[in-house]
Symmetry: D2
Amino acid sequence: MRNTLGNILTLTTFGESHGPAIGGVLDGMPAGVKIDMDELQRFVDRRRPGQSAMTTARSEDDRVEILSGVFEGVTLGTPIGFIIRNKDHHSADYSEIKDCYRPSHADYTYDAKYGLRDYRGGGRSSARETAARVVGGALALQALKHWGVEITAYTSQIGTVELADNSINLSIIDNNDVRCPNEEVARLMHDEVLKARADGDSVGGTVSCVITGVPAGVGEPVFGKLHAQLGAAMLGINAAKGFDYGDGFAFASARGSEVMDRFACTDGKVTTLDNHSGGIQGGISNGAPITFRVAFKPVATLMRDIDTIDRNGNAMTLHPRGRHDPCVVPRAVPIVEAMTAMVLLDNILMNRVSSIGLSTDLK
Amino acid sequence: MRNTLGNILTLTTFGESHGPAIGGVLDGMPAGVKIDMDELQRFVDRRRPGQSAMTTARSEDDRVEILSGVFEGVTLGTPIGFIIRNKDHHSADYSEIKDCYRPSHADYTYDAKYGLRDYRGGGRSSARETAARVVGGALALQALKHWGVEITAYTSQIGTVELADNSINLSIIDNNDVRCPNEEVARLMHDEVLKARADGDSVGGTVSCVITGVPAGVGEPVFGKLHAQLGAAMLGINAAKGFDYGDGFAFASARGSEVMDRFACTDGKVTTLDNHSGGIQGGISNGAPITFRVAFKPVATLMRDIDTIDRNGNAMTLHPRGRHDPCVVPRAVPIVEAMTAMVLLDNILMNRVSSIGLSTDLK
Amino acid sequence: MRNTLGNILTLTTFGESHGPAIGGVLDGMPAGVKIDMDELQRFVDRRRPGQSAMTTARSEDDRVEILSGVFEGVTLGTPIGFIIRNKDHHSADYSEIKDCYRPSHADYTYDAKYGLRDYRGGGRSSARETAARVVGGALALQALKHWGVEITAYTSQIGTVELADNSINLSIIDNNDVRCPNEEVARLMHDEVLKARADGDSVGGTVSCVITGVPAGVGEPVFGKLHAQLGAAMLGINAAKGFDYGDGFAFASARGSEVMDRFACTDGKVTTLDNHSGGIQGGISNGAPITFRVAFKPVATLMRDIDTIDRNGNAMTLHPRGRHDPCVVPRAVPIVEAMTAMVLLDNILMNRVSSIGLSTDLK
Amino acid sequence: MRNTLGNILTLTTFGESHGPAIGGVLDGMPAGVKIDMDELQRFVDRRRPGQSAMTTARSEDDRVEILSGVFEGVTLGTPIGFIIRNKDHHSADYSEIKDCYRPSHADYTYDAKYGLRDYRGGGRSSARETAARVVGGALALQALKHWGVEITAYTSQIGTVELADNSINLSIIDNNDVRCPNEEVARLMHDEVLKARADGDSVGGTVSCVITGVPAGVGEPVFGKLHAQLGAAMLGINAAKGFDYGDGFAFASARGSEVMDRFACTDGKVTTLDNHSGGIQGGISNGAPITFRVAFKPVATLMRDIDTIDRNGNAMTLHPRGRHDPCVVPRAVPIVEAMTAMVLLDNILMNRVSSIGLSTDLK
């Protein structure tokens, strides 16, 4: 816990927003996985700031430097250490907040926990830390090809603009700057963000994710239910406020008879005719696509004067001038995919020890 | 993971629904906590089956036997082992499902993972396992008195009957059989369950939880965010399908300016005037009440003939005759409280090591 | 740590010497392992008190009750909970030590750590806790048959009687009450123990262990070196004071040229002509027999008056009357085997995730 | 396990000998510890190669770069990431061993485990990895000042030259190149190493360690006994072959009456008049100095032609030309101290949660 995710495959991250570098160690990556560094960098670039009008203008090239664990293009089975230098420090931007508690930020809670904090750009609480997660996820994704697992996240809501389930084309997600799989809805979402930005405001949203290719039998059935691990990973992303899977919160108002996933047998293989469960039953994958949803709050930094208090309890007014995304959701998409990739690889590996005779699907 | 919850305070559970006993080991409970065994048993009894028309007729007295770790009424600091005997085995009820995969149950996924399963009453996937969690939670609750932490969960939705936030009285929760803090809504929920039961059907719902008395500074800010730990614990409860905290999914459609938690300073103490964040900012408690919500699906066992397949893929029809709750939500209430108690105690203890000079609040 | 051993395969133990029961949970045992309960009980009986003049007269039948995780004689992949009732309480024997700190016992250190202790029979610090480890080890041993791993521990020194390496017959270990693989030396060791006993004294010794059948490639090469894990497990046994493997402490006075394990290739298989390394190089097994040694101190309880202090610092004299082994070494033999079995099974399972394409030896 | 040490305070290391860098993440360091970077670098320099005739000529300046977790000279409570660049690569030296299995090295076992390895300079199995541990230990040492803990390791044996216990002066350890606390014995040890070196050979030895200032009550009494944790840490150091504490292996031939640590009460404080136990009873510190010993084998690389096999099993002869220490023991001294520091800090922090009311000694 704390700064480490996972059980057998573990990612430990480090780094403050305005320190010399952020980075991480991915341990437990099996030996023998071919690593394509260009593909890795392209995946990391999807999270990078400064990509569009949707995102902060902070200009970081987020060049990943792999320091260990990969030799001649193949994983060694040893820990993969990596760093990303922080280049575009505008520490001057943050002098105003040194002694201030910004509303709905982590300034006060870090002080309450640790007695001090790196106030520059949010320090450890900055979403910049998620770049290290995206590196870990990019590595996990390359290993998941071994089993044919595919993970696709996309923006399913921004503010009041919601995407209907039946009108999505997963192949076009990266064609628009909000990462929505429907071009028309994408335009509405784009406008929603720009409106908020014009008002010096921010707006929330949801990211949905669909995973195919996970064999039946993956997940640990009590405290480590596959959806509990996914949920913890998603709720660990900055600004995440909710998680549900399959029919999720809609189950609450349903009758059991309406949401049963009927079994069938096709070509000697057990399948389900429905997927209310979101591909997970009893915490274990059933072979159907795994689906879930993550809610994100509007970012707390507004481009408006904000009344608040300083660490001595005195009233003060903030005049924000930093660089911030009016909506985090588009950049959250690759983070959701990265976290998902690590959780799945961890659980697929874990399954290799679930029975004395190995299940053939999980070799 | 797997069968262990927690970091410093850990609960490991064991047991199948129709084996000789279920039980657990609570490790990391600090020495010196006074344990009131009657209070513990009363708390465990709240989850017990056979309490009302809401719940299965399985008659278990769920008598907790503490085997270690408590001496002369006080915790020793050593692991607390405990068991609850399974008494009312009706194994005969389950012969029909030995080779069958019940829809939306874990029969198939356990077989896919392990190659075999204890088919009697769901085996390890039975909600009976949660009795061990309630014991762990009951012990944690007694330790939490040291800091004045109070945890109250309640039923906030059953089927189409939803509770409004502004009409609740937390003191009456156990006065009605659905555990709803509003008597009028409780009657509607009660009727909703009986209607489903009369139809041989089941119905879903939500449990809400409010926690007071947690000092600011509790939680681990990256992967172990307090809400991520709470979310994982809640999603690890049988039939849970979603989790959100504070404004939760409603954040998705909000503007940042609408959901800011303004700071104030009262008597030299930092507080917030709003609580959209649900008492947690940046993964760390801010001293305000912590609030969250858990969605539960309708139980998968219906009192109707169900078409499905057996483990060889042959079509078959099930004629359910077992004992099952038409709605799990009322019995989930103490489970939510128990899981919450363990997560909070674990994190409060964890905070004792967050700085070299101890924070006075967490002694 | 604390009360849990292992990584993927974990044993958590609980119980005080004079509480209602001791027990444990073995989690991570793969599904599909056939469990022979008689064989398990026979293994546990080897540690049982009251077996011979070598050991305490405490009469416990140490009947193991498996509560979960085994169904129709086969492991389910779920946690195996078990208890052993404490029957022969002579709590009256211990009233004298309630407020007393016995020299070289854990009375004082438990009080210093926890502020209180269960003083009856040493409470949690009693070697009775190791019965739970022997159960875990007995289960692990049955799984290790899948790979043909064999573990044999034996008494190699008691007091001044040492066994020479070249005169051992592992098949006769359980034919004598000191568990020595040489009958003549066994008689000398037997006499050494009886002499100490006659003097109201106790005596130390060493246990050696040899493991065959572990394929090359097992162990984690940095902090989890196979010998470091074995060492930690052995040093976790009550009264253990030292551990070395292969040539061990004798390496200190050796030259590199004298202790090189030369490689050979036999039938296309890499082997070594020497085994100074004790079967482990760089923390990973090399396929040669794994050998190590554990030193045990003489038990601290003597049948003599002992001057000491009480918890208030006042001088007092103890008149021991309890039941204690004059030498723990013979009973430590099955404990060493049990701990070894759990460490090896854990590491063999761990190796299933060391490379993306599974090594055939470790299926 | 694997690449992470510790429980609450954890060090995760990464890096191969000839990759771009080695490094680590120290997580769980409490906030508020003042860090003196010069002192840290001086401590790390004690392990550095190229210091004297005792050690390899590899010339690395081992400059530590702290990337996070320390802000304005004080720890933040967030993970401390750090790297040390590998500068003096002589990769050409290692082409000969690419397909070769050097005797008593980890070449073969890494291949057996992972199916491939970074053959340059031993890759991950190189002792260069320990530089990261020394950084972690140097940070832990600065935190341990809070409690007044002092850790001193020294060379107690090299080859046939042994140090007597009664002739040591801990203040002069760094005055001689073998790190022996007796100048005369140091000269003999120095000669022993040079003789081995002149023969193209290597020689083993032991490191002893004494720790003062640890309050009574530190350590976890079952699997996490303080000496078991120390033993695992020491056995995790490259070339370590044995560990014992207090009287250690000498206990095996002792009678209980000879090795009892008598209690006394001085100024209202419990103390012991003897210290056979090495400061630990029942796995918990008793306030007396903690003492232990670690055995190291002679390094496996000799400056002689060595007959061995290649990875295809063909006989071949190695002509070593690399740079290697004829004796690792002097450089092991700071590594022993570093590992000890991390184990102790971890356990002292752990003790803050051992009772509900905090022990005053461990604040």
